[in-house]
Amino acid sequence: MYFQLSKLILWPRHDVEPRVVDFELGAVNVISGASKTGKSAVIPIIDYCLGSEKCTVPVGVIRENCTWFGIVINTIEGQKLLARRAPGDQQSTGDMYFIEGPNVDVPRRIEGKNHNLDTVKASLNRLAGLTNLGFDPSSEDGFKSRPSFRDLIAFNFQPQNIVANPDVLFFKADTNEHREKLKTIFPYVLNAVTAEVLQARFELDQVNRSLRRKESELRALVAANAAWQAEAQAWVRQAIELGVIEADSVLPAGWSDILDLLRAIARSKGSNARPSLRGLDTTLGRLDDLRTQETAQAASLAEHRQRLNELRRLRESADAFGASIHIQRDRLALAKWLRDLTVAVPSESLVAVGRGGRDELLLLCDNLEEIEVKLRAQPTLSDTLDKETHRVRVATEEALNALNETRAEIANLERRSEAAQAAADHFDRTERFLGRVEQALVLYDRADQSSTLRDEIAKLRALAGELQGIIAEAGVQRKLRNAATLVESAVNRFIPQLDAEWKDAPVQLAIDDLTIKVVRGTRSDFLWEIGSGANWLAYHIATTLALQEFFLSETNHCVPYLLVYDQPSQVYFPKRAATRDDDRGIDPQFRDEEDIQAVRKVFALLGQQAVVHKGRLQIVILDHAGEDVWGGLPGVRLIEEWRGPHALVPREWYQ
């Protein structure tokens, strides 16, 4: 991706002009400078403006004196100004200022944000033309999520702690999170896994799901049909039993004949002798009336019986006395009753009656007794009770008859209604049976060989096969290997031009370990197994350049065609024995001419590549080494020299 750094801008706290570092496009831009002038802040500032999670700009002069950091980048869409608010005391802030245009003017001050981190990242993803599909459809794993512009930065920056690091080859690959993501996107940036493959992965996942569902549906149908065939004879017999087909029908033996017969049964209209439900309702209504009547008649009968009993009792206890009878029954005997009550428990009511007390009560009883004795002098006589007995007996008889009649009608109606119920049941059963036959036939047809379900399954399988072809892991591996071979051959071309120990030893890309291996005879050693800082630097430079060459071989690869190296020459400087109080601006010195030549080789190769790619590749180097080391090389330009009064942050900002 054409993505070149045009400006790096710092906005101060005070109201003065912002500090702008201009870069040259399509060349090696060297910022040569002494220690502590801000060289190592450049990569963090660019990274922060490109949307890093944390701000790694060193705490100190830069953070204290700047309110916003910004970069202007040139893309095929034109220029873009990406500025981000300095985090102050926080780790980072999401406030961003983002403007686009053919040419962007750097504002004197930024008054406030106009974007946030997420929208800027989305713009960068779009710019890089990255797929928005993840790497694994079924995984919620963050490492397998879609490739993002942030992941691509790994191929662009080589800060001080990485550029000659034997353990880590790529920017930010020193944390597990980034390592895993980088491994995942490596096949993507090497074009082994394309957006088409990712899409095929997602489609295949979808197809497989739907295939599994349809297959299980078909299995269920087939199983149901097998069971149904097994009991087909029983279905036909049930049809005969319900009278849907003639009882003397011959049961067919062949499945297709049975099927035809069942189809005929399903078409038949069920019983014609269909009992009317209205008729049933009338019966039930009458039954209800009769039951009410029965209750009343039973009550009347009970009353008559009671009377009859009473009369019978009277007759049985009576003595014949002339024409009349003498009825013998318990007398009221109020006197005795009261007296007994008084003697037993004098209750409240008795006390009230005998207001004067117990004696008064007893006196009352005596007087009552006297009256009663007089009353009993003559027996109570009555006429004969025959007439009454007869009348009551007749009445009882009538009541009984009426009741019996009602009961008989009820029983009759109930029988009839049971018969009606049974007929209705039979009708229902037949209808239900026919419904079941019809349903079973529909299911059978659906599971038939010609059914669309099988067609769909066949289509889905074909589609799955096609998709498998696209995403074939073997194909991916082959493409990955081919791409790696291209990169490796470029590395092998570059290494002899650098100061490496084994110039002819072939180099292999170890993608799973995110490093390289050097093949010497029967051995192949990982980068961390090889000694010497000079070797580490050489392989870092060669690998990053080779990858860029691979990316540049495409018209518009997603990785920006940009490389930034921070102090590649550090491995050639002797370790400083001691620090002086005022070591600002003090440059370390190279040990000998040989080291100078080694550093010059690095600059020469980078310049050569910038020239070869005709302005499509931009390289930025931040280094101690001055023009005396790399001067006169084609494609290499000094942009700024940060020595003496000059540094990234102007001295007047904080003095």
Binding site: R329, D330, R331, L332, L334, S349, L363, S382
Partner: protein, 164 residues
């Protein structure tokens, strides 16, 4: 009392009984000032608190008298003969009603001659206005009181076929 009363308890309650007995006594005394015999008070509730009998009382003119009433009732003789048993059954209720009447000075029981006096109301005594449903019930003991005042206890017992 939380328990709701049964229909039986509502009808056969001593307060209503006391009221009915008082009306009976007042009516009995009205003709010649004689006080009604104690025994008669036990016949009032069995006659009045029986729907069929009550309807016969209501449909018999006051002037017709007890005899005609008994004859009407005896069209089906078992109805007349049931009075005795009903009197036995309601004996306790009658006693409670008498007691409540006595307690609230509607009635005064005289032990010496075994009679009950129905105390007539003075100006301060307000006779409660009865709901329409109860007017026929309240009139029946009045009629009975008048009828009984015309006969001796003995004759009443024979007419109503009650054995004291």
């Amino acid at each position: 009392m939380n328990r709701s009363l049964s229909e039986l308890e509502i009808i056969q309650n001593p307060a209503l009984g006391a009221y009915l007995l008082w009306r009976f006594g007042v009516s009995y005394q009205a003709s010649d000032g004689r006080q009604a015999p104690f025994h008669l008070f036990f016949l009032v509730l069995p006659l009045v608190l029986h729907r069929h009998t009550l309807s016969k009382i209501s449909s018999t003119q006051r002037a017709s008298g007890l005899a005609l009433f008994a004859a009407k009732l005896a069209e089906e003789r078992e109805n007349l003969m049931a009075i005795h048993n009903r009197t036995l059954s309601l004996r306790r209720l009658s006693l409670q009603s008498l007691a409540m009447g006595a307690d609230h000075r509607l009635l005064s029981i005289s032990a010496t001659d075994a009679t009950v006096r129905a105390n007539t109301a003075d100006e301060r005594f307000r006779v409660p206005t009865l709901p329409d449903r109860l007017t026929s019930l309240a009139r029946a003991p009045e009629k009975l009181g008048y009828w009984c005042s015309q006969f001796s206890l003995h004759q009443i017992a024979k007419t109503l076929m009650v054995d004291f």
